[in-house]
């Protein structure tokens, strides 16, 4: 009874410790703040954006940044600031959902491979090899083309092409943890495999998974932008990559149409990278007391 409380207390203090370490890292804090801002923008897009994202005003086409239109307008007279704001929703949605998908599948697959080893490990690793032998963009483009255009299919394409990375990381961590003594101890007292994975292996490989996931979201955003840049995606929604692609023809006369969506992509990924870096340092077991 008291054992459980002790374990829980230890867990909580670990969490607080990590949090404290994270907050001491100024860049990570900056990343967190940026991230929170971006998420808030996505949630409150309706309030923040001065215009609907598809409101066309033919009398104000191609305006540069000005008071009524902080980011200018595009070739249909749509306010770019509003479109970038709404684009936050789309990019975050694609990135998180596809990331969650690939993390889930990757974790399960990687854990199984790492834990059971042997033939199962070999087969799973060969599958990963096959998928990683095909360049990521080509893989994503092929999957997206096979499934057809649209946001959901783009999400699936990104998710599938990111699974091998996760699986590898999880497998490596599982292998390290598997050899630890407490796992051996658990096995010797007759713990079931599922229980071992859940209670002993999983919490200890959580750290690299979290780090990989955070950095993975950034990659997913860029991948999504690249896919919609190439035309696979939903052309009617204000996805940042699609906005950059549409603005290519106007690059010489109205560079603001390309600059702002691209900056949005960069800032989102930057915030995730800053946060992810800080998280990695904070979770670094070498610094654990």
């Amino acid at each position: 009874m008291s054992e459980n409380i002790q374990i829980q207390a230890r867990k909580r203090s670990q969490f607080i410790e990590v949090w404290r370490r994270l907050c001491r890292n100024r860049l990570a804090v900056l990343g967190m703040i940026l991230l929170v801002v971006i998420v808030l923008v996505a949630i409150f897009a309706d309030v923040i954006a001065p215009y609907p994202y598809d409101f066309q005003d033919y009398s104000s086409v191609f305006l540069g940044p000005c008071l009524q239109h902080p980011f200018g307008t595009d070739n249909f007279g749509r306010d770019i600031f509003s479109r970038v704001v709404y684009g936050t929703r789309i990019s975050l949605r694609i990135a998180f959902i596809s990331l969650a998908g690939s993390a889930l599948v990757g974790c399960i697959v990687g854990a199984i491979a790492g834990f059971f080893g042997g033939i199962i490990d070999a087969i799973i690793m060969r599958f990963c090899d096959i998928m990683m032998a095909i360049p990521r963009m080509v893989m994503a483009i092929s999957i997206a083309t096979t499934l057809g255009p649209g946001l959901t299919n783009a999400m699936i394409a990104i998710a599938i092409s990111s699974v091998p990375n996760f699986a590898r990381v999880v497998r490596a961590s599982t292998l390290t943890v598997k050899d630890q003594e407490y796992v051996e101890a658990a096995q010797s007292i007759g713990c079931s495999t599922a229980r071992i994975i859940r209670k002993y292996i999983f919490p200890n490989i959580l750290a690299p998974i979290i780090v990989q996931a955070t950095l993975g979201v950034g990659t997913a955003i860029i991948l999504a932008a690249s896919l919609s840049f190439l035309g696979l995606g939903d052309p009617l929604v204000p996805e940042w990559g699609a906005m950059v692609s549409a603005a290519r023809s106007y690059i010489r006369d109205y560079p603001h149409m390309i600059a702002f969506p691209g900056l949005a992509i960069m800032l989102s990924v930057l915030s995730l990278n800053l946060f992810g870096d800080g998280l990695r340092d904070a979770l670094d077991p070498k610094l654990k007391k």
Partner: protein, 326 residues
């Protein structure tokens, strides 16, 4: 050592086979009729059906796959639906360009990234370190197609210094290489820095310094060599990312490379080219991974000694056996 290589090559074969199967399946289930695309809008139903029969598009899945495989094993990658030229020729025409650019990107990334990383690690917390870390962070956050467009905007349109397309001379390589390698440079810088930092804190470095070795020797001989191991892995991985990155940027810079060929082929449902191209790329990747692993094994004394130890062990075993009395 040679056993290692042979084993790895043997493993490559099922992987490559798997690659062909995956891509073939994906193309098979994609909408769109290549026969119709070839014949154009004005073709009649019979003409389309006739061409479909000729191209074998109506055969069942496994027949088509096995036919493809048997051709592949004879070195025939098929003929392009769009140009009628052998796929092998089309790929070989474009491959050197992409490989050349990727190599330039990697050389650039290593030439800039590793020194920057070393400097940052050595002069930790200085302005230089902070600046390079910031730039590196920005570098991995930039979408490379946007960077390409911005570079064209500034250097071609704005300043008129560099050409915006084509590959006819040294000048033409600059913008594509910089835009494609940006994230590789950034990643290598970061990796080098963190790897060096880890190594510098190690005990044997302190010992070397205590022995009175000059700082340069400490850095370059002891620290760098040991830090190289993870760096090499990262460099290898970055090559893969670079190859991926050329896919989009080849479009922007009108570079006649493999990436553009693949994207165009996927759009045109030009199955043979897609399948052939992916196969060639997967082959290159696998070889590359093998080379990286070999270098890794060579550089890392722990792994090297493992093999040496094994050889000695075997030797010892046979010696032992000889000694057992009859």
């Amino acid at each position: 050592m040679s056993k290692f290589i042979i084993k790895r090559i043997l493993v490559m074969i099922p992987v490559l086979l798997g690659v062909t199967f995956v891509i073939f399946t994906m193309m098979y289930f994609t909408d769109g009729n290549p026969a119709q695309l070839i014949l154009g809008d004005m073709a009649t139903e019979e003409q389309i059906h006739e061409l479909e029969e000729e191209m074998g598009l109506n055969d069942p899945f496994f027949t088509r796959y096995l036919n493809y495989l048997s051709d592949l094993l004879h070195g025939d990658l098929g003929t392009s639906y769009v140009t009628g030229q052998p796929v092998a020729k089309e790929i070989m025409d474009r491959l050197p360009v992409t490989v050349r650019i990727s190599f330039c990107c990697m050389i650039f990334a290593v030439a800039v990234g590793i020194p920057a990383g070393i400097l940052s690690a050595v002069k930790q917390y200085s302005i230089l370190d902070n600046l390079s870390m910031v730039l590196a962070l920005v570098g991995i956050s930039l979408p490379n197609f946007w960077l390409a467009l911005m570079l064209v905007l500034v250097f071609s349109v704005g300043l008129g210094l560099l050409p915006p397309s084509g590959l006819y001379g040294f000048k033409y390589y600059i913008l594509p290489v910089v835009s494609i390698s940006a994230s590789a440079v950034a990643t290598i810088t970061r990796m080098t820095r963190s790897s060096m930092l880890e190594v510098i804190r190690a005990d044997y470095i302190r010992t070397a310094r205590a022995k009175g070795q000059s700082e340069n020797v400490v850095i370059f001989r002891h620290a760098l060599l040991n830090a190289l191991i993870p760096i090499i892995t990262v460099v290898g991985l970055q090559f893969a990312t670079t190859l991926s990155g050329t896919v989009v940027n080849e479009q922007i810079f009108a570079i006649p490379g493999l990436g553009k060929l693949m994207v165009d082929a996927i759009k045109a449902r030009n199955y043979p080219v897609v399948q052939g191209g992916v196969f060639v790329l997967a082959f290159i990747f696998s070889i590359l991974n093998l080379v990286i692993d070999l270098i890794y094994a060579f550089v890392d004394p722990r792994i090297r000694s493992q093999y040496v130890r094994k050889k000695n062990k075997r030797q010892a075993e046979t010696d032992n056996r000889k000694e057992v009395p009859a």
